[in-house]
C-alpha cells in the first residue's frame, strides 16, 4: 500500500515539475509575463548624474579669472570628472596622488567640505572655480577667511582645540611614516598648543575669526606665505 502511495506521490511531483518548467520556459520566451518585482529598478541606476556648469560670462562675473583661464580650468576639471561633479571619493583619490608617501584622505575630506559650499556631497565646477578664485586672486582677508572656514569643521564660527587637533592630525598624516625626524604621537597636539598660544588672545579656548585674522596679519611669515601662490594659474 505504501509503495503505491510512493509511486503516486512521485508521479504528482514529476508532473508538477514539468508544469513549472514549462511556465518558466514560456516566461523566458516572453510569451507570458509572470509579474515579479525586479524589472523597472535597474533602468534608473544606469543613468548617471550629470551637471553642466553655468555659462562662461556668469562665472567670469563671479570669479576673478579671465576667460582663457576658466577655459583651461574647465578642461582639466572635465577631463578628470566627465560627469561634471566631483564626489568625495574621487576627490580623495585625486588629492592622494599628490602625496604618495602619506595618507591624504582625512585632509582631503576637510578640504572637500571647504569647497563644497552648499554641502550637497559633490563639488560642481562653480564651487571649484569660486574656491580657487578666492585662493589665488582674493585679498589676504578673503584667503584668511577661507582658511578659517577650513579649520572650522562644524562651521559654527569658532575653532576649538578638538577641531584644530583633527586638522593637524590630518596634515601630519600626509607626511606618512618615512619622515625625518619621525612623527611622534604628541607632535600634532603640541603643534595645536603652539597654534592656540599664538592665536587665542583672550584665552577662552576657542579662536574666533577676528582673533584669527588679527594674529595672522601681525605675523610676517604667514603674510608672506599667503602671497606665495599668486602665479599658479
Amino acid at each position: 500500500m505504501s509503495v503505491r502511495w510512493e509511486t503516486e506521490g512521485l508521479q504528482t511531483v514529476g508532473i508538477v515539475c514539468l508544469v513549472i518548467m514549462f511556465l518558466k520556459l514560456m516566461h523566458l520566451l516572453g510569451l507570458i509575463d509572470i509579474t515579479e518585482t525586479d524589472s523597472s529598478d535597474s533602468d534608473l541606476e544606469l543613468s548617471t548624474v550629470r551637471h553642466q556648469p553655468e555659462g562662461l560670462e556668469q562665472l567670469q562675473a563671479q570669479t576673478k579669472f579671465t576667460k582663457k583661464e576658466l577655459q583651461s580650468l574647465y578642461r582639466g576639471f572635465k577631463n578628470e570628472c566627465p560627469s561634471g561633479l566631483v564626489d568625495e571619493e574621487t576627490f580623495k583619490t585625486i588629492y592622494s596622488q599628490f602625496f604618495p608617501q602619506g595618507d591624504a584622505t582625512t585632509y582631503a575630506h576637510f578640504l572637500f567640505n571647504a569647497f563644497d559650499l552648499d554641502r550637497n556631497g559633490s563639488i560642481r565646477f562653480e564651487d571649484f572655480v569660486i574656491g580657487l578664485s578666492v585662493l589665488l586672486r582674493g585679498s589676504v582677508t578673503e584667503k584668511l577667511n577661507w582658511a578659517f572656514n577650513l579649520y572650522d569643521i562644524n562651521k559654527d564660527g569658532y575653532i576649538t582645540k578638538e577641531e584644530m587637533l583633527l586638522i593637524m592630525k590630518s596634515i601630519y598624516d600626509m607626511m606618512g611614516r618615512y619622515t625625518y625626524p619621525s612623527v611622534r604621537d604628541e607632535a600634532p597636539s603640541e603643534h595645536v598648543e603652539k597654534f592656540f598660544q599664538k592665536m587665542d588672545r583672550n584665552r577662552d579656548g576657542v579662536v574666533t575669526i577676528e582673533e584669527f585674522i588679527e594674529t595672522c596679519q601681525k605675523d610676517e611669515n604667514i603674510m608672506n606665505s599667503m602671497q606665495l601662490f599668486e602665479n599658479v594659474i
Binding site: G76, Y95, D103, G176, R177, Y178, T179, Y180, H191, L228
Partner: protein, 646 residues
C-alpha cells in the same frame, strides 16, 4: 603622476594655503614658470595627417618623446608644426594615451609594429591598461614563440663538438637530422605497427579444428606468433637501451612518460619468459598481456598530433574535472529518483541505486541501450528529464576543450606557464619602479640638493661645499626636472615646512633609528636644514654600500648637533595605514624587509655633541652626486674611534 591629475596640481597648490596659518616656518619660494605660453595648440603632422592638441596635454609625461624637448628635433620651421614620419593609425592610440592617461592596444594592429612605435615615442609597454593588456601579452608571446621556432629550425644545423652520445640523442629526438636517424625512425615505427597487428590478429578465430570449436589464431600458430613477439620485443629493448644510454639526464629520462610506456610495453614478455609453467600465476600472466597494447602509445613519438592531444587533455584538466563532477552529481540525483520511481513496478530492473547508475549514464550520454527502461509514468517523466539534461551537461564543457585543442594545435605551444608567471612578476616590478620613481623623486631631488637652491638661506649652504662640489651642483640644476615636477616638489616642500618634518627615503628610515630627542630641531633651522643635503647623501651612500647599521648611525650622530639618545628599534613600528595609495606598495615591502634584517641592534648609544668642524671634514668627502655608485667612502675608522673614546 597620472595624466589628468596634473591638471589638478594648481588646485592642490592653491589648497596649500590652508597650511600657511598653521606653519611656524617660512615657506620656500615657488618655482616660476618661465614660458607663459602654456595654453597653445600644437600641431603634430604624422605622415600628412594633422593632429592637434594642447601643449599641456603632451607635457603630462615628460619622460616620453612628445613630452620632452626631444620633439623640438622634429619641429618644422616653415610650417610651424612637428612632423613625424611614422604611421598615423598607430599614432592615434599614442596620442590618446596623453589625452586619457590610458594606453590601449588596438587588436587589428601587428604587435611588432606597435612595439616599434612605442619604443620610438618612448612609452613603455607595461603601462598598457588592463583592458588591453591580456591581448597584448598573448600576441607578444605568440610572436616570441614564432621567432624562437624559426631560431630553432636554424639551429638544427650541425653544431660542432658534439659527443657521440649527444649526436645520438639529437638523432632520437629529431629524426630528420640524419639519414641514420630517419631509418631508425621508420624501422621502429614499422615494428610497432607489426606488434600491434600481431596482438590483434592473435585473437581472431581462424579455422576450426575438427572438435567444433573456433580457436583463435594465436593458439593455432603459437610458434609463429611467439617468434614475431620476440623479434618486436628485442627491437624495442634495444631501442630503449640506446635511448637510455644517449639521454643527457638518465634519471629524468627514466621518469618521463614515454620511457614508462616503453617499459610497460616490453615487460610482459619478459615476465612471461620467467614464469612460463606455473599454473597459478598464469591468470595474472594473461592480465599482463593486456599491457602489450600500450605499444600503440609508442606511436606518439612519431605523431605530433597525438602529443598535442595528450597535452590538450592535460591542459584542459579543469574543464574535464568540471565535466566529471557535474556528471557525477547528475548521475547520483537521477539514479536516486529513478530508483524510487521504479520501485513500485513489477519486475523492475532498477534493483538498487547503483544499478540505476548504469541507466542514468546510458541515458545522459544519449546512448540508450534499452536494457533498462522505466515503466511507470513517474519513471518515464524523470527519465526524459534525465536525457535532456544529459545533453546539456555534456555539451557545455566540450566546446571549451575543442577550442583549447585548436589553439594549442595552431600555436604548437610549449609548456610555458612557468614563464608566464615570471613575466607577470617582471611587469609588476617594472611598473612599481616607474611609479615609485615619482614618489621618490622628491626625496631624490632633495638629496641632490636641488631644493636647496630654493631655500631662503642660500649662501650658507653654498659655502659649505668645496668648489668642485658646487660646480657639479650647478650642472645638476641645469638638468632640470620638468616644471610640473618642480611645482609638485615645491608643494611637498611646503608641507614639510608646515609640519617641521622631512620626507626621507624609506631605506634611510628603516636603516633603523628613531630620533626621540630632536625637539630642538626647529631652533637650528637654517644651518641644520642646509646640512640635510649632506646628511642625506652621506647616509644614502652608506646604505647603498650596505654598511652595518651601527656605522651609519654614527655618521648621523656626527652630523647632527643635538642628540641625546639613539635607539635602533625596528620592531616597534606602528602598523601601517591601510589606506595608503598603491604607489607605496614597494616601499612598504622593502621597508619591512630591511627592518627584519637590521633590527637586531638594540643598544643605546650616547653621542657627544660634535663641533661643526667635523662636518666640514666630512663634507668634502661627500659631494652630492646624482649616482651613488661612484663616490669614495668617507673614513669610517675615525668615526668609530670617536665613539669608543667616550
Amino acid at each position: 603622476m597620472a595624466a589628468g591629475v596634473a591638471a589638478w596640481l594648481p588646485f592642490a597648490r592653491a589648497a596649500a594655503i590652508g597650511w600657511m596659518p598653521v606653519a611656524n616656518l617660512p615657506m620656500p619660494v615657488a618655482p616660476t614658470n618661465k614660458n607663459k605660453h602654456q595654453d597653445e595648440l600644437i600641431i603634430l603632422n604624422v605622415s600628412g595627417r594633422r593632429f592637434q592638441t594642447w601643449r599641456n596635454t603632451l607635457d603630462r609625461y615628460p619622460d616620453t618623446l612628445l613630452g620632452s624637448s626631444e620633439k623640438e628635433f622634429f619641429f618644422n620651421e616653415e610650417t610651424r608644426e612637428y612632423f613625424f614620419d611614422r604611421d598615423p593609425d598607430l599614432f592615434r592610440s599614442i596620442l590618446n594615451f596623453y589625452r586619457t592617461g590610458k594606453l590601449h592596444y588596438p587588436r587589428y594592429e601587428c604587435i611588432s609594429a606597435y612595439d616599434e612605435e612605442l619604443a620610438f615615442f618612448g612609452i613603455i609597454p607595461e603601462i598598457i591598461s588592463d583592458c588591453c593588456y591580456e591581448e597584448y601579452k598573448d600576441r607578444k608571446r605568440e610572436n616570441i614563440e614564432r621567432l624562437m621556432d624559426d631560431l630553432e629550425d636554424n639551429k638544427d644545423s650541425k653544431l660542432p663538438n658534439m659527443t657521440f652520445r649527444e649526436t645520438m640523442w639529437r638523432a632520437f629526438e629529431n629524426p630528420h637530422t640524419s639519414t641514420m636517424a630517419l631509418v631508425f625512425y621508420y624501422v621502429t615505427g614499422f615494428f610497432i605497427a607489426i606488434s600491434v597487428i600481431t596482438n590483434v590478429v592473435e585473437t581472431v578465430p581462424c579455422g576450426s579444428m575438427p572438435n567444433q570449436r573456433d580457436i583463435p589464431c594465436g593458439e593455432r600458430y603459437t610458434e609463429a606468433f611467439f617468434c614475431m613477439d620476440t623479434a618486436c620485443v628485442m627491437i624495442f629493448t634495444v631501442e630503449y637501451l640506446m635511448r637510455l644510454f644517449a639521454a643527457p639526464s638518465r634519471y629524468r629520462f627514466m621518469r618521463s612518460v614515454m620511457s614508462i610506456i616503453d617499459v610497460v610495453a616490453i615487460l610482459p614478455y619478459y615476465i612471461g619468459l620467467v614464469m612460463t609453467n606455473n599454473e597459478d600465476v598464469s591468470g595474472a600472466f594473461v592480465t599482463l598481456r593486456v599491457f602489450r597494447v600500450f605499444r600503440i602509445f609508442k606511436f606518439s613519438r612519431h605523431s605530433q598530433g597525438l602529443r598535442i592531444l595528450g597535452y590538450t587533455l592535460k591542459s584542459c584538466a579543469s574543464e574535464l574535472g568540471f565535466l566529471l563532477f557535474s556528471l557525477t552529481m547528475a548521475i547520483i540525483i537521477f539514479a536516486t529518483v529513478m530508483f524510487y520511481a521504479e520501485k513500485g513496478s513489477s519486475s523492475s530492473k532498477f534493483t538498487s541505486i547503483p544499478a540505476s547508475f548504469w541507466y542514468t549514464i546510458v541515458t545522459m550520454t544519449t546512448l540508450g541501450y534499452g536494457d533498462m527502461v522505466p515503466k511507470t509514468i513517474a519513471g518515464k517523466i524523470f527519465g526524459s528529464i534525465c536525457s535532456l539534461s544529459g545533453v546539456l551537461v555534456i555539451a557545455l564543457p566540450v566546446p571549451v576543450i575543442v577550442s583549447n585543442f585548436s589553439r594549442i594545435y595552431h600555436q604548437n605551444q610549449r609548456a610555458d606557464k612557468r614563464r608566464a608567471q615570471k613575466v607577470q612578476k617582471a611587469r609588476l616590478a617594472r611598473m612599481r619602479i616607474s611609479k615609485s620613481g615619482s614618489s621618490n623623486a622628491f626625496v631624490h631631488s632633495k638629496r641632490n640638493g636641488l631644493n636647496q637652491s630654493l631655500e631662503l638661506t642660500l649662501p650658507y649652504y653654498k659655502m659649505k661645499l668645496s668648489p668642485q662640489g658646487s660646480l657639479e651642483e650647478d650642472q645638476q640644476l641645469k638638468k632640470t626636472t620638468s616644471l610640473l615636477e618642480s611645482q609638485h616638489h615645491h608643494l611637498l616642500h611646503c608641507l614639510e615646512k608646515t609640519t617641521n618634518h622631512e620626507f626621507v627615503d624609506e631605506r634611510l628610515y628603516e636603516q633603523g633609528y628613531l630620533q626621540t630627542a630632536l625637539q630642538n630641531f626647529p631652533s637650528q633651522s637654517p644651518s641644520l636644514s642646509s646640512e640635510e643635503g649632506i646628511t642625506g647623501t652621506c647616509c644614502s651612500r652608506r646604505t647603498k654600500k650596505n654598511m652595518q647599521p651601527l656605522s651609519a648611525t654614527h655618521t648621523h650622530t656626527h652630523n647632527l648637533q643635538e642628540l641625546s639618545a639613539l635607539h635602533i628599534q625596528c620592531g616597534e613600528q606602528q602598523p601601517l595605514n591601510t589606506s595608503r595609495s598603491s604607489l607605496n606598495l614597494m616601499s612598504d615591502e622593502s621597508g619591512s624587509l630591511n627592518c627584519k634584517s637590521s633590527g637586531l641592534v638594540t643598544t643605546a648609544i650616547i653621542s657627544i655633541p660634535t663641533p661643526p668642524s667635523n662636518n666640514s671634514r666630512a663634507s668634502p668627502d661627500a659631494p652630492p652626486p646624482p649616482n651613488p655608485d661612484a663616490p669614495p667612502l668617507p673614513n669610517p675608522g675615525t668615526d668609530v674611534v670617536k665613539i669608543s673614546a667616550l
